[in-house]
Each structure stands twice: as C-alpha cells, then as structure tokens.
Amino acid sequence: MVSAVIETSGLGKAYRRTWALRDCTLAIPEGHVVGLVGPNGAGKTTLLSLAVGLLAPTCGTIEVLGEHPAVGPAQLAQVGFVAQDPPVYARMTVADHLRLGAWLNPGWDGELARQRTGQLGLDPRQRAGSLSGGQRAQLALILALAKRPGLLILDEPVASLDPLARREFLRGLMEAVAERGLSVVLSSHLVGDLERVCDYLIVLVASRVRVAGEVSALLASHRRLSGPRRDPATLPAGQEVIEESHTDKQTVLLIRTGEPVHDPAWTVTPVSLEDLVLAYMSQANGTRARRPQLGVVS
C-alpha cells in the first residue's frame, strides 16, 4: 500500500460565488514525480495553494503528508513550495534570500544552497529584482530544496521561462530529486514539459480527475485504432473509447484497454503522452465518450 502525499475528498474552493475548484477527490501517491496537467482554469493553482495552506478550503478536506496543510511548523517544514511566477523580494539580494531560508527553516541545508547557487552562477550580491525569470525560478527552487522537504510542490514552475531556461530548470529539479528521493508534484498546462520529468500523471479538468496513473502504465493501456468506418458501440467490452473521429470511410479511435487488440480490421498504434492527455482534456469539453454497450445495434 503506497501512502498518499496529498489526499483530498470533496475538496472545493469558492471565491465569492464562483468555484475555482469543486468536488475534487484525489490521492497523489508517495515517491513519484507527479505531473498535474490540465487546461487553464482547471483548478491546478487553487489545488496546489490549498495543498500548501495558502488557501483554506470552502468545503471538503485536504491532507498533505497526513496532516492539514500549514497546521504547524513541522508540517510546513516538510513541504517545499515553488509558487507560480516565483515570488522574490525585489530589493533583497540573492544572499539575503538564502539567509531568509536559513532563518525560517530549522532543517536548512546551507551547503546545498551554496553549492547550487555556485553551480548556477547566481551572484549572491545581486538584487533578486534584477534576476532573469529563469534565475528567479532557480532561486525559488534552491529555497524550496534547501529546506529539505519530503514533498516538493511546484506550480507551473516553467510556464514563463524560455525553452533553454526551462530545460535547465527541469534538469536541476531532476538532479535534486535523484539525490534526495523526494516526492514531487508539479503542475503545467503543457504536456511536453511534464513528459520529460514525470513518472506519474494526473489529468485534471474542471476540478475532476479525468485519468491518473503511472506514465508507463498509461502508455501501455492506451492504443490508437484506425480502420474502416465503424460504430464505436460495437467494440468489445473492456475497450473504453476516449476519443473518436470519423470520416466517410474511416474511423480513428483512442481507446483504453487492459488487453491486446486482436481485431484484424484495426491498425493498432501506440499513443504519445501528449495525445493521451489531449484526448482526455477534449473528452471533458463536451464530447463525452460513449460507453461501450453490449448487444445493442444502432
């Protein structure tokens, strides 16, 4: 039994009358680099802000590492957080930020902080306000890592970075994860970023978990079928249609199945993670997949 680093039940957060997150139930397992992916407005930032205790839930419950978020210094010390557009104190220097980390975190790893700052070529005397977006994100990551958390939460850490900075950042993240074996949850609306680093994926659309699982298992259980035009309702049980498209003569399906597809009429190809995620996202946008119905011919 793998325990959950984040577990929510019926979690909701409303701002005045609009729901940013509603009826969200999920469990994020320990020991993974978890990608939380979904379109803008799916509730990712709200969910992660609830997870670090910056927001309080309107309804439902959330537990992070078995406790309420931000309930006390010990719980706070266990969770590292890199917020979206990482915040820094513009008039404080890089060195000031590292001192801040040391002052506010009893578990502070000064050696790690110095080492990473040196490796990245950050000038300790430089004011944080004049750092590039990439450097700011790196500084925020150093602060979160040197705290020595058990769980690292990153909200759209690379969204505002150029491709090079993005790659640098993710590489730095992966090195740290490999060294320390911590659990990571990072959100993004771009699957490409996650594909490189995540081994577990959660697709969140309109507060709901559409699909969740280890990346390898997800890739193994999804197939693209193409063949002569056919009603998806005639598929055998155990093949769930996620996405379908038809032309006059041809049908292309993206299905989820536990078994190999034997029907010779289909050409079976594996799916990429990006296609898989997009299929689940568009499924939510109104075109609900029909469930396979046995024995019914339309």
């Binding site: 910056l54 931000a70 006390g72 210094p73 590292g80 915040p87 000031d96 001192r99 980390g101």
Partner: protein, 340 residues
C-alpha cells in the same frame, strides 16, 4: 523571524533613528538658554510671593520675542503629532499590503514558520519600535518645553496650556498610544485592502479623523467634567438677543485647566431694555454700566482642571492601546482565513 523582520525593516528604522537624532540634537542644544531664561524669571519661587500670573506672562512674552523659540516649540509639538501618523503610513500600511501586492506572501508563508507567528513577530517588534521611537520624540519635546508648560499652567491665558487639544496629544505619554494605534491601523488597512498606497491613504484619513474625534467627543468625558459658575465682567461681555431677553457670555480662564464648554444665561427684565441701547458694550455709559451690574451676569463652565492632566493622559493612552490591540486582532483574523 526576528532577523528577517530587522532585514526587511532596517531602512525605515535608520530613517527614524536619523530623524530622532536630528530632533534630539536641535532641542538639546537650544534648551540650556531657555532654562536660564526660566530661572531668571523667578517663576520657581512665585507662589510665596503670590505673583505667578504676572511672572509667567512676562516669561512667556520674553520667549515669544525670541527668534527661535516660538518656531522650535511649534515644530516640536507638530513633530510629536506627526510621528504616529507617519509610522502608520510608512511602517504599518506596507507591512502586510506589500507582501500581498508583490505576492511574496507565497514565499514568506510557506517557510517553516506559521503565518500566525510571522505576523506576531512583525506586529510585536515593529509595534514596540513604533512606541519606543515616538516615546523618545515625546520625551525630548516634553522635557524641552517644560518651562513653557509650567508657565502656561500657572495661569497665563496668552499661551495654550498642555491640557488643551492643541498640545495634549503632542506631549507626555499619549503619543505612545497613538503610535501603537496608527501602526496597527496601517497594518490592518493593508491586510484588508491588499495594496500599499490605498492603505496609506485610508490610514491617514482615519487617523486624522480619530485625532479630531478624541478631543471633541471623548477626552472631555474621560473623567466627568468639573463645573463652575463665574461672573461675567463688564469688559468681556458679549450678548445676543434671544426672544425677549439677552444671552450674555464673557471670557473665562482657569489657570492650567481646559475649559471646553462655556454657557451663558438668558436675562430678561427692565435692565435689558437699557442694555439693548448700549451698542458699544456695557461700559460705554454709566447707565449701561449700572444696568449690567444689576444683572450679576454669570456663566457656567465645564472644564478639566490641571490636576487631571496625568489621569487623562493615562486613560487616553489606554484607549488607544486597546484600539491597537483590537486592530491587531483583525490582522490575525484576516491573515488566518487568508484572502481570496
């Protein structure tokens, strides 16, 4: 947390210390000759000779004739009035508002320190610093002006005494209470509004309103007012027609006291018909004078005597400190339920 508070606050702290040093030097340097003037005036021994009023008046006139002292006195009192307002705007208002505005609260509140502790340290340390620095400003000015205050209290109506609204909150311990209040007000406005500049504006407006409300509606009633009836002298009398009669008022002074209400009586009768013809006052003709004297005109005063200076200071300080604590409570409540 203490070190972080100092790191984020040190610029404001140095500005405040520099201003305090400038004021301290100015007033320390100019005080000895004021002391000498006071010693030479003989006020210290006036009670035995029973001529305090005239000695005090001549001392005050002498000070007034000087080029520097009237300016220094006014500047000193204004500084002590302004320091709490400035602290409220520049220490209080940005304290939480800037973190929200720059969104750095997401960094500050996700370290291994609870938000409650973060706020407790910041409000506590900076609140104490605000009170200490204002207390020092007030101490310097109160000490510097003490010869003048003593002379004014001895019954010279030509200078406002320290009980009067213009001076009361610029002297003594009350400024410390106002500093705590203004600081907490700024912090609360910042927490509720979430933007620094509007929070500063709200702080100064509310603080100014409180500075008007206190002397006009609260301070007179902190201790039930003393009342007395005094005769209106012919030389000071004013009147207005009210129905068939005349409402007669005059001037009144009680040494060292703050008179906040003077009410005259409406007089009727045959003497009034004579007085109505005395356009140049009751002393203009002998007939007017005797008609006025026959009325034995009096007026009722409500006042706080000089002896209540320190009790009033203590009560008002307690009220402003209580308001500051209540505002701090709002900050904690707001921070804990965290802004949507």
């Amino acid at each position: 947390m203490i070190r972080l508070t100092w790191r984020q606050f040190r610029t404001q702290a140095w500005v405040a210390i520099a201003a305090l040093a400038a004021i301290a030097i100015t007033f320390l340097v100019t005080r000895p000759s004021l002391s000498n003037m006071y010693s030479a005036s003989g006020i210290a021994a006036c009670q035995a000779r029973n001529d305090c009023g005239s000695l005090a008046a001549s001392f005050i006139n002498q000070v007034r004739a000087d080029a520097a002292y009237p300016v220094l006195y006014a500047v000193g009192v204004i500084v002590v009035f302004l320091v709490p307002a400035i602290i409220g705007m520049f220490w209080g208002a940005p304290l939480i508002a800037r973190e929200l505005e720059d969104r750095t609260y997401r960094l500050a509140w996700t370290q291994s320190v609870t938000r409650t502790r973060w706020l407790a340290v910041k409000l506590g340390l900076l609140g104490l610093a605000a009170m200490a620095i204002t207390g020092l400003f007030s101490l310097i000015i109160t000490w510097w002006a003490s010869p003048l205050d003593r002379a004014a209290t001895l019954g010279s109506p030509i200078l406002a005494n320290r009980m009067m609204p213009l001076l009361f909150a610029g002297h003594g311990i009350v400024p410390i209470g106002y500093a705590a209040f203004a600081f907490a007000l700024g912090a609360t406005a910042g927490a509720l509004i979430g933007r620094t500049v509007p929070a500063m504006a709200v702080t100064i407006v509310i603080f100014a309103a409180v500075q008007l409300i206190m002397p006009n509606f609260v301070r007179p009633h902190l201790i039930p007012a003393a009342h007395t009836t005094v005769a209106v002298s012919a030389g000071d009398a004013n009147w207005v027609a009210v129905g068939n009669g005349l409402l007669i008022t005059g001037k009144a002074a009680i040494p060292g006291a703050w008179i906040f209400s003077e009410s005259g009586h409406v007089y009727t009768g045959p003497a009034i018909q004579i007085l109505k013809t005395c356009y140049n006052g009751p002393t203009s003709t002998p007939a007017c004078g005797s008609a006025f004297a026959s009325l034995h005109a009096q007026m009722l005063l409500a006042y706080q005597p000089a002896s209540r200076y320190w009790p009033l200071q203590a009560y008002e300080t307690a009220i402003t400190l209580a308001l500051a604590l209540a505002l701090a409570g709002i900050c904690f409540w707001k921070i804990r339920r965290r802004l949507g």
